[in-house]
C-alpha cells in the first residue's frame, strides 16, 4: 500500500486530499463542483480509480458524478455528449433520475410516512445521502436517498432503479424525518456475504436484507429511545450511523441519537456500550481496520447542543469493543471548540498502523496516522464538511 486519498464532501464542493503511506504531507485539489453540496463521495473497493459523487442542490436537484481516473476528471455517466435519444425521442440524461418504483412487477405503491406534525406525508425524492459501491463490481453501486429508500445502479451510474422492498416495508407509515430530513444515510455490506446488506434510516432505525436488498426486516431489538411514544418500538429510532467489524461481520456498532450500541448477532439484538463516555450523543462511529474490537466515536454535548462537551474536541477510542473509553486529544483543540462532526464524516484507512480521519462543520479535516494517538489537520478552512471517505491505494 503506497498511497492515501481522502474524499471530503462539503457544502460548497468536493476536495480530494492525497498523500503517501506516511500520511504526513498532503496535496489538496478542489473545489470540484464548486458551489454545490457534496453529500458523499466514495471509491470502488475493486477499482480505486472509480469514484462516485452525490452532488446536490436545493435549487437544481440531484447530480451523480463519476471519475474513472482517481478524481482527475469527472463526468455524468447518464448524460452522454450529443443528442443520444431514447425510444421516445427524448434525450438521455438519467444519472440523476431517482424515481420510486411503483410498478406492479417489482415496485411498491407510493405510500406515506409521518411528517413533522404527525400527519401522513407522501414519499418525495430530495437527494442522495450515501453511495456504497459494490465490493465485487465497479459498475454496481447502492444509493441511500431522502425520502428514505434504497436505489441501485448496475451500469456505472448511468441509470438507477429502486429496491422497493425497503420503502414499501409495512412499518413505513411509522417512519418519521429527523431534523435533516427522512434519509437513508448508512449502507453496510457484509464483507463475508454480499447479499447481506444493512441500511439505517433517520428516523426509522436499522434494517437488514439477506437477499441482496429484495426484502428487509427491522433489527432494532434492544434499542431504547425516550423521544418516541413507545421507547422500545420496532421502528422509529433515530439511528445515526452503524459500522461493521471487518473480521467478524456478525458484530456491528451503532451511534444512535443517544446511546452507543453493539450487536454480536447481525443485529438480532443490541446492547448499550456507552460506558464512561462524557456524552453518548453523537453522529459517526468507526471500526479500526485491523483490530476489530477497537472503535471510535466523537461525543457531542446533546441533541440540543450539537458541539463537543466543554468545548473540547475529543475522539473517544475503545479497545474493548465498547464500555471502556479513552479520550484522544493530542493535536485536537481543547478549548473554545464548537464544531460538529456529521455521521458520514469519519473514515479509517487500511494502512498499518491504521489511519483515522474526520471532518468538521468548521471546515477542518483531521487525520491521525497512528490509530488516533496524535492528530493534525490536513486542511483547516474548508466549507462545512458533510462527508469523509478514505481510499488506501495500491
Amino acid at each position: 500500500m503506497t498511497g492515501t486519498r481522502v474524499l471530503a464532501g462539503t457544502r460548497k464542493g468536493l476536495f480530494v486530499l492525497t498523500s503517501n503511506a506516511k500520511r504526513k504531507d498532503w496535496a489538496v485539489s478542489g473545489p470540484h463542483f464548486a458551489g454545490w453540496e457534496i453529500y458523499h463521495a466514495k471509491g470502488s473497493p475493486v477499482d480505486p480509480d472509480r469514484i462516485y459523487v452525490s452532488q446536490t442542490s436545493s435549487w437544481f436537484g440531484q447530480i451523480i458524478q463519476r471519475s474513472d481516473d482517481g478524481g482527475k476528471t469527472w463526468f455524468q455517466p447518464g448524460s452522454p455528449e450529443g443528442p443520444q435519444t431514447d425510444e421516445m425521442g427524448m434525450p438521455k440524461g438519467e444519472s440523476n433520475k431517482f424515481v420510486y418504483d411503483t410498478s406492479g412487477e417489482t415496485g411498491r405503491p407510493l405510500t406515506t410516512h409521518q411528517w413533522y406534525d404527525g400527519s401522513q406525508h407522501p414519499w418525495e425524492f430530495a437527494r442522495v445521502w450515501h453511495l456504497e459501491p459494490s465490493p465485487d463490481d465497479p459498475d454496481t453501486v447502492y444509493a441511500g436517498v431522502e425520502d428514505a429508500a434504497l436505489f441501485k445502479t448496475a451500469d456505472g451510474g448511468a441509470s438507477w432503479f429502486e429496491l422497493a422492498g425497503l420503502r414499501g416495508h409495512e412499518t413505513g407509515a411509522n417512519w418519521a424525518p429527523g431534523a435533516g430530513g427522512m434519509c437513508l444515510h448508512t449502507i453496510v455490506i457484509d464483507p463475508r456475504n454480499h447479499d447481506r446488506i444493512y441500511a439505517a434510516i433517520s428516523a426509522a432505525g436499522t434494517f437488514r436484507s439477506d437477499d441482496g436488498g429484495a426484502t428487509w426486516k427491522p433489527i432494532n431489538k434492544g434499542l431504547h429511545s425516550q423521544y418516541i411514544p413507545d421507547p422500545t418500538a420496532e421502528v422509529g429510532h433515530c439511528v445515526h450511523r452503524i459500522a461493521i467489524n471487518p473480521k467478524n461481520p456478525d458484530i456491528l456498532f451503532m451511534q444512535k441519537h443517544w446511546d452507543v450500541m453493539r450487536t454480536d448477532d447481525g443485529g438480532e439484538s443490541w446492547v448499550e456500550v456507552s460506558g464512561n463516555l462524557p456524552s453518548d450523543f453523537g453522529f459517526p462511529i468507526a471500526v479500526h481496520s485491523h483490530d476489530p474490537e477497537t472503535i471510535y466515536v466523537v461525543p457531542i454535548e446533546s441533541d440540543s447542543l450539537h458541539y463537543p462537551p466543554e468545548g473540547k474536541l475529543r475522539v473517544y477510542r475503545s479497545r474493548s469493543g465498547g464500555n471502556e473509553w479513552e479520550a484522544l486529544t493530542e493535536g485536537l483543540p481543547q478549548e473554545h471548540c464548537y464544531v460538529n462532526i456529521l455521521r458520514d464524516a469519519m473514515a479509517v484507512d487500511e494502512h498499518d498502523p491504521c489511519g483515522i480521519y474526520f471532518g468538521t462543520t468548521g471546515g477542518q479535516v483531521y487525520a491521525s496516522a497512528d490509530e488516533g494517538d496524535r492528530w493534525a489537520p490536513i486542511v483547516r478552512d474548508l466549507p462545512p464538511v458533510l462527508s469523509v471517505e478514505v481510499q488506501t491505494l495500491p
Binding site: 435549487w59 437544481f60 452522454p80
Partner: protein
C-alpha cells in the same frame, strides 16, 4: 424554426459547460415547454435540474423571467411573448434568491 436565446444561472452553466447565453433552434409554438424541451435535448445533463423528471413540473426554487416579467406560474404551454420568439430578449432561468 425560431432562434431562442436562453440565459442560465451560474451552476447550470457550469453543469452544461457553456459560457454566456445559449442559442437554441425551437419549433413553433414557442412556449416554456418547447424551449425547455429544446434546451434539455441539446444539454441532456440539465434534465431534472430545472423541472422534475417524469412530471416535468418546475422545481420550486427555479424561476422563469421573460421581458422583465416573472412567468413562473403561467401555464407552461402558453405562447411566450414576441420579444422571446423573435430572439430580441432572452428567456431567463434563475435560481431563487436564498441560501448562502
Amino acid at each position: 424554426m425560431a432562434k431562442i436565446r436562453v440565459v442560465l444561472p451560474h451552476h447550470l452553466k457550469t453543469l452544461a459547460r457553456v459560457d454566456g447565453e445559449v442559442a437554441l433552434a425551437v419549433e413553433a409554438p414557442i412556449t416554456v415547454t418547447s424551449v425547455l424541451d429544446a434546451l434539455e435535448s441539446a444539454y441532456p445533463m440539465l434534465r431534472g435540474t430545472i423541472r422534475e423528471h417524469e412530471t416535468l413540473k418546475r422545481r420550486p426554487r427555479v424561476r422563469f423571467y421573460v421581458d422583465q416579467e416573472d412567468i413562473s406560474h403561467d401555464p407552461p404551454d402558453r405562447p411566450l411573448p414576441e420579444a422571446i420568439a423573435s430572439g430580441r430578449e432572452p428567456f431567463i432561468v434563475i435560481g431563487a434568491i436564498s441560501g448562502g
